[in-house]
């Protein structure tokens, strides 16, 4: 029984659980494990951080401006003397949340549109792909600006200044980044829907929805996970662009992107100011990419690891 030894000796011994099997496979991808630890540390830092590092983010002390890292200010201070560690922790909450939420929006919308287009054999599929191409060809920045101008005040009134902006930014960034996912999913669906195993599922009495959700979608997930991890990174960076243009969060609200842009004029005299947010964005993006890589390998049953 060569197949038995090849498969998963551990699963044989301890009884089977899909979750445990996935974890076993995920552990084989060392960079992904390191990345998962890093990302968890980052998240823990921004969640618990404010309770440990109780310095205010907005205390101004111009005399102590642009200081390098010290015991009083581990990450140094900006030009107004505000503590960078406190601002990084606060900003990380927003940046990571925006990145993850915008990714979920774009993956959800993209998968939905791609799946509908991929399963349709008629006009709907073409119409949805025209829509996708239309969105791809739109000049995104002017559109972003217009959407934010149009809806900012309304959402602020309903969800409060920060909540409203958060929802708006997530929807706008996610809503303008679903197109590559939709194309990926559609392409996968077009080939998968003709596979014999889908026909076999039909012969077992599986409804069309079940054929899609249980048989086609899991087979199409690999590229979607990768696209999703790239989206997280892109969303963090897109948020910083918006903040820079004064259209994201209010200027006094720190986000990683905002801190980075504020720092760019002081690169020669206070390089630490840019290094910390830049490093944080870099670590988060690389970690998420590796996690996506590991997840794809762990979830792809065809790959023996």
């Amino acid at each position: 029984m060569a197949g038995l030894t090849l498969a998963s000796p551990s699963a044989e011994r301890r009884g089977y659980s899909p979750l445990r099997e996935t974890w076993r496979r995920y552990r084989r991808h060392k960079p992904a494990v390191v990345s998962a630890v890093l990302l968890l540390l980052l998240i823990a830092a921004v969640v618990i951080g404010p309770f440990i590092w109780r310095v205010s983010i907005s205390d101004i002390d111009v005399v102590a401006g642009l200081q390098g890292p010290s015991l009083a200010h581990p990450f140094g201070t900006d030009d107004l003397g505000q503590d960078l560690l406190a601002r990084m922790i606060y900003g990380g909450r927003i940046s990571l949340a925006v990145g993850l939420a915008a990714m979920l929006v774009s993956v959800f919308v993209g998968t939905l549109i791609g799946a509908l287009a991929g399963m349709s054999r008629g006009a709907l599929g073409y119409a949805l792909m025209w829509l996708t191409d239309l969105f791809l060809s739109l000049p995104q920045l002017p559109l972003l600006l217009m959407l934010i101008y149009l809806f900012r005040d309304g959402l602020k009134a309903v969800f409060g200044p920060e909540g409203g902006i958060f929802i708006l930014i997530v929807l706008v960034i996610g809503g303008l980044r679903w197109m590559p996912v939709a194309r990926l999913v559609r392409a996968q669906f077009l080939s998968l829907r003709e596979k014999e195993f889908v026909e076999a599922a039909r012969a077992l009495g599986a409804s069309p929805v079940r054929q899609v959700v249980r048989h086609i979608l899991p087979n199409a997930l690999g590229p979607v996970i990768i696209a999703g991890t790239i989206d997280v990174a892109a969303a963090i960076i897109a948020e910083s662009t918006l903040s820079f243009l004064g259209l994201g969060f209010p200027p006094d609200t720190p986000t990683w992107g905002r801190i980075l842009y504020d720092a760019k004029d002081f690169l020669d005299i206070g390089p630490h100011w840019a290094l910390f947010p830049g490093g944080a964005i870099f670590i988060a993006v690389v970690a998420i990419n590796f996690i996506g890589d590991g997840l794809r390998d762990a979830l792809d049953a065809r790959k023996v690891i």
Binding site: A200, A203, A206, R302
Partner: protein, 325 residues
Amino acid sequence: MALLDIKGLKTHFTTDAGILQAVDGVDISINRGETLCVVGESGCGKTVTAMSILKLIAMPPGKIVEGEIMFEGRDLVPLTSRELDDIRAKEIGFIFQEPMTSLNPVLTIGEQIAESLRRHEAVTKKQALERTIEMLKLVQIPNAAGRVHHYPHQFSGGMRQRVMIAMALACRPKLVIADEPTTALDVTIQAQILDLLQDMKERFGMAVMLITHAMGVVAETAQRVVVMYAGKVVEEAPVDELFGNPRHPYTQGLIRSIPRIDLDAEHKTRLEAIGGSVPILINPPVGCRFAPRCKHAMSICTQKEPRLREIAPGHRMACHLGDAS
């Protein structure tokens, strides 16, 4: 009453070149507990006939234009796909030709077998797993309790076909349609799979519709045989009668084209073949569709289409030759 009674089935496909009459007036009936073989060359409509029963053909371009498919006295043709879902796997199981690609690579075989059980019967997850393991034991997969959690790529071709059989039979259907279940397998495994089918058939008392182009498989397993050519039934007879007294020139040709290791070596005879190939079924030839390839073709054959008629009890065929003799 027959379990399945197909009458005058016509399944056509719309193509850019015209209407392709893949199945053009087929009558087939299967009794309870019977094994019926459908034989014929590639492209003569065997698979389309079988797929039409459960409407597994892509529609469009395919369409059942005429005929009825009576299953236990109920016509399946007017049913919607949703209504058919209750019959698929529960009443009529389907075994596909390609075991390598007919299993979903990202689901364990247990999940796939349990799927039809959970779809059609009110069983809990645990009961479904138990019945799945029991099915795997029945199809003789060693270490069934461990193997149930494995993925299709961890099985060989023959094992996968056993899994396919377990999937098709999990709900104990009354009829199993096997579309060339052994074509993709090597000879020793073929024999094992056919034995297994036979064994399961006897155990569950189900009827089997076996589609094949291997005459050896027919002789070994069938009780009754239907010979199809170019979308039509040309001859139908009990298996002994068909091999002992084939009447249609096409059937005779098929039987003569079986290699005989006992005779050929001694007599140094060449293996006979039927010249030519199946006509393309867009604007098929007028009259008998086999006439262009038939050694006995007469003038009437290219003018008038022969009707399927009974020439002996249980033996029907469609050829003008019978009229003359």
